[in-house]
């Protein structure tokens, strides 16, 4: 065979092969997903075809996809009971909910709803008033009929999200008029509306006029999708890496437009570049404007790119408004973790400064309560509980006095550590530092931990290792996932070091099956949320505390439905039962939440350590006026549904 023939053969193979690759998306190209307002997809499913390169980079906002590559890129039906990567723009741009939490300002925004829900006295009836003048992107008005149809369809269709919830609670749903929906419940439920509150999830209405034509709403792909949000789908990658959205011409007829005005970017693209290192490379080349990364990769991008900035322009960079509390969950259903003294001993064996230094180089807000230490929750709970925390005593004496475990100086110790690392503090003002690094944590008191264990029959062997009361070695089995950038993973390894230092044998199992193991109770300690997240933008603690109600208790081995700690207590039941009888806007909700948090402190079912220290990087090459710490007008992430409310405030740089 001559060289020329060989080369020709090689070229043919390459050309054939790579062209074949593209055939993965060929089957989908018959459908043009983009659509113009006023066009009914049923009649004209094609819509207007997207043109490649018709919008310049400077008019396009490109952000990351937290959920990764989309496995079913052609499917926009997020109402099927499954995972459809809603954070590729579906929840951020395409759909509006009735209500949405804004955890930065601490409010629940009325989106498609005109006002908050109205319940009757015994919470058996709820009335929802809808915002008028809202339209689906195909020109059909959004009305009460949409909600009624949606709820009835979901109730009737197994396999749709909220099928079980709606069937459990909803007796009747009907439209009182074009903009008023009435729900009648089978039993009183003061928090039913929270199913419609978008908090990185929630029931978002779908268009009746589309779904009523569909035979099987579960397998229906909803492509091209119709939007209630300010953008419509323009295009998507058949390989699942990017999804492209274009601004609606009638953006005024959406809650985003009505509330905040015109979103500025003409187009928004969601692009999944891969692991954090790839995201950094992409942003360094100005290919992506907003990413969430790890603390290490954040520092790398800040060094590499002059136009990149973090949530906070200088150290400590991290997002301190994320409404999640992180730490360690203990399996309080098994020995010895079913003993309050043991749980407290493990807590006092952790030095918060060392822990946060190891996990995040000090870039986190410490939080000792079962509620995230974001600015709004600091106001609602941490500040009001500060005095109580300072005087709170454990039932053990040190030097003849009851031991007070709270350490209000922990923030100071952390800032000293930060200075010793060579970083400059963001402020000298103590109150401001507390807002950033937290109000305090538990004392590092291994001596007290020792006493607590000893009074329960634990002792050390000759080498100083702890033995269980029956004389066998104490070995803690910790479970976490395999992703080192995961916050839970970092806590697990930092706490492992602390407990080892204290003399306990600790084994960490890193596994892809962490979710199943923790849900079946096959662990002693895990990095899973130590308390269920509250609403984020509302002081009601129902969601967090209810997961500890004894009615949800399942013995270890059975799949869990409440909190993974399986801890329960009659006092907490009482608090939750009282909370159920309160309207969520009742001022007593905070009092009740404080009571619940006090019980959680006394019992320490799981160890709360810090708020979720999100690391975002904004590239100011094309866009500016991001919601950074100096101007936190809304949440700063690309994956939260509230991204749509950030877009009207972005400013093009003109580059």
């Amino acid at each position: 065979m001559k060289l020329r023939t060989i080369i020709a053969l090689l070229c043919v193979i390459a050309l054939f092969g790579f062209t074949l690759a593209g055939c993965g998306g060929q089957q989908e190209t018959g459908k043009e997903p983009s659509q113009e307002p006023g066009e009914k997809p049923a009649e004209e499913p094609g819509g207007k075809p997207a043109e490649t390169g018709d919008v310049s980079r400077s008019e396009t906002f490109i952000v990351d996809v937290l959920g990764g590559r989309v496995t079913t890129p052609e499917n926009f039906n997020v109402w099927a009971q499954t995972w459809r990567t809603p954070d590729r723009g579906v929840q951020q741009l395409m759909l509006e909910p009735l209500w949405i939490v804004e955890y930065v300002t601490g409010e629940v925004i009325n989106a498609l709803a005109a006002e908050g829900p109205e319940y009757n006295e015994d919470f058996t009836k709820m009335v929802v008033k809808l915002r008028q003048g809202m339209y689906w992107s195909d020109g059909v008005e959004f009305t009460a009929d949409d909600i009624v149809f949606d709820v009835e369809l979901v109730k009737a269709t197994e396999g749709m999200s909220y099928h079980t919830e709606f069937n459990t609670y909803v007796d009747k749903v009907y439209a009182e008029d074009k903009y008023t929906v009435v729900f009648e419940f089978k039993e009183g439920n003061s928090r039913f509306h929270t199913f419609f509150v978008d908090r990185w999830g929630g029931f978002r209405p779908f268009p009746k006029h589309i779904f009523e034509e569909v035979d099987d709403p579960v397998s229906f792909e909803f492509n091209p999708p119709i939007s209630s949000g300010p953008y419509v789908l323009k295009d998507y990658d058949p390989g699942g890496y990017w999804t492209r959205w274009t601004k609606r011409e009638d953006w005024q007829k959406t809650p985003t437009g009505a509330l905040y005005g015109e979103p500025v970017p003409k187009e928004v693209v969601f692009y999944y570049y891969g692991n954090p290192e790839k995201k950094v490379l992409a942003q360094a080349q100005h290919e992506i404007d907003l990413i969430e990364v790890t603390s290490e990769t954040l520092k790398a991008i800040l060094e590499k790119s002059d136009t990149s900035r973090a949530y906070r322009k200088e150290y400590p960079y991290f997002v301190n408004v994320d409404p999640c509390i992180t730490g360690i969950s203990l399996n309080a259903d098994i020995e010895p973790y079913n003993n309050k003294d043991v749980r407290w001993a493990l807590t006092l064996a952790i030095d918060i400064v060392e822990e946060l230094g190891t996990s995040f180089d000090g870039m986190a807000t410490m939080g000792c309560l079962a509620v995230p230490p974001t600015p709004v929750y600091l106001e609602w709970y941490y500040k009001p509980m500060e005095e109580w925390l300072r005087s709170f005593e454990l039932d053990i004496e040190v030097d003849g006095q009851k031991f007070k475990p709270y350490d209000p100086e922990a923030t100071k110790r952390l800032t000293e550590y930060i200075k010793s690392r060579g970083y400059e503090l963001p402020s000298e003002d103590e109150e401001e530092l507390k807002q950033i690094f937290g109000y305090g944590w538990w004392k590092y008191a291994p001596d007290v931990a020792e006493k607590l264990l000893e009074r329960n029959g634990f002792k050390r062997d000759n080498s100083g290792k702890w033995l269980l009361p029956d004389g066998s070695p104490w070995k803690i089995h910790m479970v976490t996932g395999t992703n080192p950038s995961n916050i839970g993973y970092r806590h697990v390894f930092a706490v492992q070091q602390a407990w080892k230092k204290f003399g306990i044998e600790v084994e960490v199992e890193t596994t892809e099956n962490a979710a199943t193991l923790t849900q079946h109770g096959d662990f002693d300690a895990t990095g899973t949320w130590p308390a269920l997240e509250p609403w984020g933008g509302h002081p009601d603690m129902y969601r967090t505390l209810r997961s500890w109600h004894s009615k949800f208790y399942k013995p270890t081995g059975e799949p869990n439905v409440g909190h993974v700690s399986r801890w329960h207590h009659p006092d907490m039941d009482k608090v939750v039962d009282e909370l159920e009888g309160l309207d969520w806007d009742d001022p007593k909700v905070i009092e009740n939440g404080i009571e619940g948090l006090k019980i959680a402190v006394r019992e320490m079912p799981s160890i709360q350590i810090s708020g979720y220290p999100g690391m975002v990087s904004f590239d100011e090459q094309y866009w500016t006026n991001f919601p950074g710490a100096e101007n936190p007008y809304c949440q700063p992430y690309h994956h939260w549904p509230n991204l749509k409310y950030m877009l009207p405030f972005l400013k093009p740089t003109g580059n």
């Binding site: 993965g24 499954t82 908090r199 929630g202 570049y273 199943t516 949800f552």
Partner: protein, 335 residues
């Protein structure tokens, strides 16, 4: 007739037995892992912050089990699997319910086939040609240079090599994209622009696989050649005054190709398994990433669908090689 009875039928029987055992193992193994697909799905939804009522979770778990076909004994699930497989139905994906497994594979497989087919064939052809030439002309300087180059290339861990390519050609000299299979906004249709875009995105992942694959084929070919060039018939041909190129291409390389052809057939069978690391490093679409997702989610049906392709590919590749071997090696006859 004797060929059919004495060789083809037993060989076909063996072929079907391999597939049967393979599918049975793939059915059993995921069920032995602690991953519970229903729990994983509930966890995926709730971990991101969606509120699922604890009172509803228990009922939901039961209803999902029914929908996923996980009710009943393992044996009854196994029987129902074969009932479905016989009619070519892999069932719905559990992690992307109710999308059929076949559809998910259909979305990802062309990317994998395109990439793997090209890289497997190109690395095989180039590696063998270079290995053959270097083996025959082993005393020449350029042959030694190629050999040294391959010796350096071959031991580099794939992940590191791929990362270096990505950094050099995606960031330092940014001439290739660092992620994806197509550019933003590209419509897949037959045009040179689309082909060029597909090629541009595939070059880095392909190059990483071709270069390392080629080095492997080169070294085995070089080794086989070094034995064959010492055979009597080669010495005889040289003594007879035949040109070196004629001896190399017509006699030595042809003989050295026999084990390589077997290797190629098996490699082609393996392409259905995908290239997980390549897909991860270059964020390139394909079946490897899909399999990874399926394993993590405990998506039994999707795992079965993907591995079924792989089992069929490898078993069929081995069968074809066995049946076609007489065409390559005249010494072999099925009697």
């Amino acid at each position: 007739m004797s060929f059919i009875k004495r060789y083809l039928l037993p060989r076909l029987l063996q072929y079907f037995l391999v597939i049967f055992v393979g599918i049975t193992v793939v059915f059993i193994v995921p069920r032995l892992t602690p991953v519970d697909p229903v729990q994983e799905m509930i966890n995926t939804i709730t971990q991101r912050g969606a509120y699922m009522d604890p009172e509803a979770i228990e009922q939901l778990r039961q209803s999902m089990k029914e929908m996923y076909g996980l009710e009943g004994t393992v044996f009854s699930q196994y029987i129902s699997l074969w009932r479905r497989l016989i009619i070519g139905d892999f069932g719905p994906s559990l992690s992307q319910f109710p999308t059929p497994v076949v559809k998910l594979i259909g979305i990802s497989l062309p990317w994998t086939l395109g990439l793997m087919l090209v890289t497997t064939l190109l690395s095989w052809i180039i590696g063998n040609i270079l290995g053959g030439i270097a083996g025959y002309f082993s005393s020449s300087r350029w042959s030694a240079a190629i050999e040294r180059f391959m010796m350096v290339l071959r031991p580099i861990p794939y992940y590191i090599f791929a990362l270096i390519l990505l950094l050099v050609f995606g960031y330092v000299i940014p001439i290739f994209p660092i992620a994806g299979g197509t550019s933003i906004g590209l419509k897949i249709q037959f045009s040179w622009k689309v082909i060029a875009d597909l090629l541009r995105h595939a070059i880095l992942p392909a190059l990483s696989m071709i270069l390392l694959g080629m080095a492997g084929w080169f070294q085995t070919m070089r080794l086989v050649m070094s034995n064959i060039v010492r055979e009597d018939y080669v010495m005889y041909a040289r003594a007879g005054g035949l040109r070196d190129t004629k001896i190399a291409f017509n006699y030595v390389i042809k003989n050295a190709m026999l084990p390589q052809v077997t290797g190629l057939a098996l490699s082609l069978g393996q392409i259905f398994g995908g290239a997980m690391v390549t897909e991860m490093v270059f964020s390139y679409p394909g079946i490897g990433g899909l399999l990874y997702t399926a394993i993590n989610a405990g998506d039994y049906n999707l795992i079965m669908g993907i591995t079924m392709f792989s089992i069929l590919g490898i078993a069929t590749g081995a069968l074809l090689v066995d049946l076609l071997y007489p065409l390559f090696d005249p010494r072999i006859r099925y009697r």
